[in-house]
């Protein structure tokens, strides 16, 4: 850790300025105006006169929770998120350990090969899988393409952290007669737990962007009801994520 206060007080702000200007303009301000709009009666076609909207307090949220469609979408997306996250992270951990067990010389080659689907488009992966498995249910293909697409990145992260687990602890366990599997389950997974939690949060957020909530509402129906719904679904997800995030922040300050 490096912390230094030498130098002028304005220096860090100069370093932050280019990033922060873009960040405020394109991310913070839109988020603020979304939250502002969520308490008003509006339609997307009138978004330009944002000041003339009528204030309706929490009624938008109440309407959302009263519709059947919303509850259905939330339920199906929760099932989807749990299933895909479970498959994604267990596979990624398994692969990271497997790469760790092979020869040193080919480890990096394998990692880069696995990173390629992550750096290529999700749509390419999906269409490639959908063409070759057209008789399987499209939902399964979609979920699997999501896994294939993101697996490389998580393997990459888990592999790098696995390398950093202190070898003395592992050697001591192996000397006392633990098997490699037991060593992995009892020593390496607890050591990785912090990173696993952070990555779970990250993958949940990335999956939400492609989840049935968004695709269902944007793709079908259309028009302003769908845009309306997507906006508030985003807010609700945001609330859920915030709560989990603050808990994580309190416990694991050094990870961030």
């Amino acid at each position: 850790m490096i912390r230094s206060n030498i130098g002028n007080n304005w220096v860090p702000y100069v370093f932050l300025m280019p990033f922060l200007s873009v960040f405020i303009l394109f991310y913070l301000y839109p988020t603020y105006s979304n939250i502002y709009v969520s308490f008003h009666d509006y339609s997307p076609y009138e978004f330009f006169d944002i000041d003339n909207f009528q204030y309706v307090a929490m009624w938008n949220y109440i309407d959302i929770f009263n519709s059947d469609r919303m509850l259905k979408a939330i339920l199906s997306s929760i099932i989807y998120l749990i299933a895909v996250n479970l498959i994604l992270h267990s596979l990624a951990l398994m692969f990271a350990k497997m790469i760790n067990l092979t020869f040193k010389s080919i480890q990096v080659v394998v990692l880069i090969l696995l990173l390629l689907p992550y750096l290529s488009d999700g749509l390419v992966v999906f269409s490639g899988l959908a063409v070759s498995n057209y008789n399987i249910d499209q939902w399964v293909v979609f979920a699997w393409s999501e896994v294939v697409n993101n697996l490389g990145f998580y393997i990459f992260v888990y592999y790098i952290v696995l390398e950093r687990v202190p070898t003395e602890v592992k050697e001591a366990a192996l000397l006392d007669g633990a098997s490699t599997l037991k060593c992995f389950m009892k020593i390496e997974i607890p050591a990785l737990l912090l990173v696993i939690k952070m990555m779970l949060l990250l993958s949940t957020v990335y999956l939400i962007q492609d989840s049935p909530i968004n695709n269902g509402f944007v793709g079908s129906g259309g028009g302003f009801i769908s845009a309306f719904t997507v906006l508030f679904t985003g807010l609700i997800i945001l609330l859920i994520v915030f709560i989990s995030m603050f808990k994580l922040l309190k416990k694991y300050k050094k990870a961030i």
Partner: protein, 257 residues
């Protein structure tokens, strides 16, 4: 059991198994490779396609936009990460918290206000609208921050300051060469993200003559079953990744956690 796992044969088996899995996971990309081989056989048709002026201009626009976006993302992220890792200042915690909030918001959530804002700024039909919103990947900031904290000692920075280096000189001459592998990784991630954008340019660039390649790639299907237009389109990020694999190697091997 331990002895068993340490043996050479097991390592060999693991390696084989992994390569089979790499093969499976890269199936879509491999199908593109077979298309490449196919198109070499029918090079006259393919050349005719790729020498169309619209295709070349689309390719150039895509390259320009994604290279600019990736480059500025790497620079901005390293600047912020350096400031967050090395300095203590007042609004640090608030900035970190805001970054986390934005990291956790889906992009669709802020799409409508973002489009309105971009329209108000008058950025419609301009290429800057395609890369300027994407030069601030929050994940990149955290990756580079962690990288700086693990590989750079405080003695290095203090020594440079003792010798009279200014803050900018210190960053430019000492920090940038050391964190280049992480910057290349951010460049790659952001490059491929902007390269494959479809929905955003659809709104921002209504003018068909200056559209990027991602929007017209589906239109080039001269040979029926072979979507040739997509081939070069999907090959470019992969090729750049392979070219930069030396930096990824360095990133992995420097002991970052």
């Amino acid at each position: 059991m331990n002895y068993f796992f340490k043996r050479w044969a097991v390592k060999m088996y693991m390696a084989l198994f992994l390569f089979v899995f790499c093969w499976m996971l890269n199936q879509p990309l491999l199908s593109i490779l077979t298309q490449l081989l196919d198109s070499i056989k029918r090079h006259d048709l393919v050349l005719e396609l790729y020498l169309q002026p619209e295709y070349i201009s689309g390719l150039l626009v895509s390259l320009k936009v994604s290279v600019l976006g990736g480059f500025f993302a790497a620079i901005f992220c390293s600047l912020v990460a350096y400031a967050l890792a090395v300095f203590e200042f007042r609004f640090k915690k608030i900035i970190l918290l805001l970054m986390l909030i934005i990291l956790c918001t889906p992009f669709t959530f802020q799409l409508v206000p973002l489009i309105i804002g971009t329209l108000k700024l008058g950025l419609i039909n301009q290429h800057i609208a395609l890369w300027l919103p994407f030069v601030t990947p929050i994940l990149g900031v955290f990756i580079i921050k962690q990288f700086i904290e693990t590989i750079i000692d405080s003695e290095l920075i203090e020594a440079a300051r003792m010798e009279g280096a200014s803050e900018w000189y210190l960053f430019y001459k000492i920090i940038i060469p050391l964190i280049k592998p992480a910057m290349v990784l951010i460049f790659l991630i952001q490059f491929s993200f902007i390269w494959y954008l479809f929905f955003y340019p659809l709104i921002m660039i209504p003018d068909e003559s200056i559209q990027p390649l991602s929007m017209m790639a589906g239109g080039f299907r001269p040979m029926g079953d072979i979507p040739l237009g997509n081939m070069i389109f999907t090959m470019v990020p992969v090729l750049i990744t392979i070219l930069c694999s030396g930096y990824i190697y360095k990133f992995i091997k420097s002991d970052i956690a």
